[in-house]
Symmetry: D2
Subunit: 347 residues, 4 copies
Amino acid sequence: MRVAYAMNSKSEIGICVIGAGRAGLIHAHHFRKNVPFARLVAVVDPSQEAAEKAIHELEINRYYTDYTQALDDQDIDAVVVVTPTIYHKEIVVAAARAGKHVLCEKPMAMNEQECDEMIAACESAGVTLQMAFMRRFDDSFIEAKRQIDSGAIGEVVLVKSLTRGPSKPMPWMYDLKKSNGPLAEVNSHDIDTLRWFAESEISEVYATGGNFRNREIRHEYPDFYDSVALTAKFSDGKQGSIDGALYVQYGYDSRVEVVGTEGVIFLGQTHEKSIVVAGRDHQLKRPFMNSWRSLFKEAYLAEDTDFIASILEGRNPRVTGYDGKMAVKVVEAGNRSIGSGSVVKLD
Amino acid sequence: MRVAYAMNSKSEIGICVIGAGRAGLIHAHHFRKNVPFARLVAVVDPSQEAAEKAIHELEINRYYTDYTQALDDQDIDAVVVVTPTIYHKEIVVAAARAGKHVLCEKPMAMNEQECDEMIAACESAGVTLQMAFMRRFDDSFIEAKRQIDSGAIGEVVLVKSLTRGPSKPMPWMYDLKKSNGPLAEVNSHDIDTLRWFAESEISEVYATGGNFRNREIRHEYPDFYDSVALTAKFSDGKQGSIDGALYVQYGYDSRVEVVGTEGVIFLGQTHEKSIVVAGRDHQLKRPFMNSWRSLFKEAYLAEDTDFIASILEGRNPRVTGYDGKMAVKVVEAGNRSIGSGSVVKLD
Amino acid sequence: MRVAYAMNSKSEIGICVIGAGRAGLIHAHHFRKNVPFARLVAVVDPSQEAAEKAIHELEINRYYTDYTQALDDQDIDAVVVVTPTIYHKEIVVAAARAGKHVLCEKPMAMNEQECDEMIAACESAGVTLQMAFMRRFDDSFIEAKRQIDSGAIGEVVLVKSLTRGPSKPMPWMYDLKKSNGPLAEVNSHDIDTLRWFAESEISEVYATGGNFRNREIRHEYPDFYDSVALTAKFSDGKQGSIDGALYVQYGYDSRVEVVGTEGVIFLGQTHEKSIVVAGRDHQLKRPFMNSWRSLFKEAYLAEDTDFIASILEGRNPRVTGYDGKMAVKVVEAGNRSIGSGSVVKLD
Amino acid sequence: MRVAYAMNSKSEIGICVIGAGRAGLIHAHHFRKNVPFARLVAVVDPSQEAAEKAIHELEINRYYTDYTQALDDQDIDAVVVVTPTIYHKEIVVAAARAGKHVLCEKPMAMNEQECDEMIAACESAGVTLQMAFMRRFDDSFIEAKRQIDSGAIGEVVLVKSLTRGPSKPMPWMYDLKKSNGPLAEVNSHDIDTLRWFAESEISEVYATGGNFRNREIRHEYPDFYDSVALTAKFSDGKQGSIDGALYVQYGYDSRVEVVGTEGVIFLGQTHEKSIVVAGRDHQLKRPFMNSWRSLFKEAYLAEDTDFIASILEGRNPRVTGYDGKMAVKVVEAGNRSIGSGSVVKLD
């Protein structure tokens, strides 16, 4: 198959990464060098400085500060949307109309309706829309899914997933209208994992949120929460549990536990390096995982590679717009539950 | 101090264990041999056969099949109540009236009102009432509490605790009116840990429960659940999360995670022996923890020892009737939430 | 069987612990309370103060400062020898002649010839001689042996065992003529484990030793080593590797690794409590195992219990004088190798 | 600095990988795409089929079946030597004479004299000679070295390192004259780690080897061993311990332990994925590390990157020909010790 691709030079997919921030550059570097049958054509960033810095670092020569110009670029076959969430809908719809395939970072959009528009636009245009839930491409997650499917733990009863980030939130996150909060920013992945492992849709959620680590902005952003605990019911009766936090300071912490009728799966790694030191304090000390960039490094590459493969093979992507939309629905429901203090049912 | 006790023969506390089942015998063996200043006088069990077997095994010579007779026995200073929960209130109240100190197994009683009666009876009689939340006497739990108090993780934000048991439930557990379900039977400990580590009272709970592993009794006991996930709010805003399960089959699993503003504590051990084997299947294999009797072996002894010490020293026990009652309240609220599908506030 | 014992009051074995130090008291406490069919009669210590303190703590009323008087005590059926090694031979031989069964702490004696005399004396007298290699009674070690025997790792190729102690050596250890060094004091256990798991005798050793942590006594005790690495060949070709150290300061460290033709077994636990803490330093911190008293607590009791059982059942003990002697031979060979810098063959 | 390089097109180093086997292709892929300022020009393999397959996979267009022709290629500035060890000396000397920089896979050569010739040739020609001990570029190893240097464990006393490979040896390995055995093939890395962490030279070794897993070739290759245990003394008195094995079947196992005067460092990871599964067998099961390609993936890239950087910066490589030679000396001494059964001193 790879031979067949190589023979047809048309089969190389021209890529433009929209958004030259940290996550954008991860994708860009992969497409620049390590994704077969992809060619990084350009980056887009409204900041000319950021865009110039990016292309220098990437050793490419084309950038745009206006994404609409990139959509006119005939060398570009596909875009990777890594902008703030509030721009996702507009850009994805425009990209679809311009006939570009789309790899869209999470969360998909600000609300369910935006997701519907994005999905419809991509379907109309016949372009691929892949959601960037990279955990689905992580070897350990894939092995977990394989074990679940093989019946190693019987039938799934409860899926627990947590994500906690070490860093101080960026100011725009404080405004829930712009960020949808940690449920969107950090727990979108957990929601997707729950759905993937349970193979069922979440029908009901209850969540509690509070601001414990960013107290200085309580007055200005009273709705902001940096810690959330959520219990979910699936439509088939299964149970789900998520917790999320920002600025936990001790490290990047992401773990999943799947309880079945006959067994359990633990997923995740809390240490960064394979070294343990003990000294006169009689303590075994091990560096905590520092960042999602360490933990999911390989997964990003696998995700980008599969995006290209799905386009070339004309098949559905492994994570779809529907997956993105369902996660957004749960985010919305969770935020409503935090606000109201009540259980929120999803239609 | 030990010398002082030893000089006064009156300071030896005569013990009677009421209920000669598995947990009862654990207490009985400790009091028989390993608890300073305690003397095991008798056991009580309505089954004469069980009682006889117990005293033979314990190498003592006194038993009762009627607990009221034990309460008349002047050699008995204190009772350990290890009967089914539905009998706790009656026995504890009677024991208090007979002037006996009480160590009461969890859950304390079937409902809050029973707890109030038990507390009142013990207060009136001036006897000690200690709740048997043995985890509070476990070295690792104590160290966790010490770390929390020392500020090692900043301020507590979220306490998560889970308990899952390997064995098929005993038939009487299926009837929630008799057992109050897994929230009472297995998660009472988790509820107590949440309160202990958060140093706050739970004010609101949402829980979801289902019967996944005991489907054959669904028709007869439609309310029975063997898997539960619960989210709690504390009155001071902290967050709590509990999951519980019966008949998970893979082992006894009990773990706690405390997330603070600046750190995290992991508590618990999933393996039974310190051995790992790898063979041609390229798998590292390690025996799972088999039972709470292995995991909390030392904690039971420490609990029994502290019960005696608190009596002799005339101080409050480390876990009180109030602690028992507050756990019962959360059990009741959780069960109501499972039944109604709504959030339940505790007064 | 227990019933049968209980019926015959003669079957209770009267115990005297000779040596009221730390390890002696561990045995004494077990025999005092937790070993079935044993009765702690007396302790012996040349220091009257130590002996008095011990019987007070043990709540018994008999002690001797001269062990020969204890050997005349008809209530005493068996002695536990926990004195400095240099006295082992004399005491064990005398005990055997007095008809007392013997549980002898490791190392068995200062040299092979002493061991032979001890074995001969016990055989002549028809008394049990058990060596106190308590690791053979540890659940994890027993499970490892069971796995080996079951073929889980194919055939054994290499057995590695290490023991490192945290504490500053006691002054008498510096004189190799009195202590035989760390190979005897800490690695006797490892040598026994090698023999047990390999089921073969060590035929050749090479060892290197050095004094790294007690440099202040280098001039006075130039032969003393506090760190040793040893490679062994077994008579059937298997391989062995041992390291030992005193005063490592970071904790008590004892681990075994068994490499087979098709697998590997890891044995040992480096942490003390089941708690891990991570804070702002981005380090997972876990308390190191503090002492052999924590790690092998249960093993001591099982050892003492089996000693009594072997006497009552008239069977050979699970660890014999021969096992003790073979370990002493390897200690002697290792020390000669350290001294000469050459490989030493065992006859 | 990167800018400076980029401005000067001469600063891009043309690379030729000699030997298109598994390890050769790892290097080739890195130089093809991920090593800054490097350009993969060609591969060499005596098998035309292997060479053609390689360049197709690498998407380059030049190969040679005769390495001397590659040395005439002016586009090639540096060679990576990944042939069987017996050819290393000839190729490296020729490459040096042709003015090519050299990255040489381990083991460096068959004996010390060959190493000397290689070092001399590279020095005369003024080309870089880097040994491919990739563990020196592994993040965890680097962190261990940093911790050692920081005094976290006091002064180093004992360095233990082991490497065990899962696969059946390739037939050429059976002939020690061609392979120098597992000490060379698998333990060269361990020897280098001992020297690196101890910062001292090994002065004395004793080793024992045996053939346990490849018994069918015992008659044809009586000297072959597939399991080796080695004890080393360093010239400054430190201690070392190595074990190595081929065809252990349970997985790829590589771990290091550094014991200091005040602490210990554990280095290595035995599991492959961050997943643990427990089922009805009450076992925690975790996939064992499968291959050095998984464990040291990042280290290979870092090594290749630093090779180029050292050339461009005109500095010494982080691992030198001297390091390669010292490892070869220890291999030779170890093999002599296995053969003679005696301790072997290194001059």
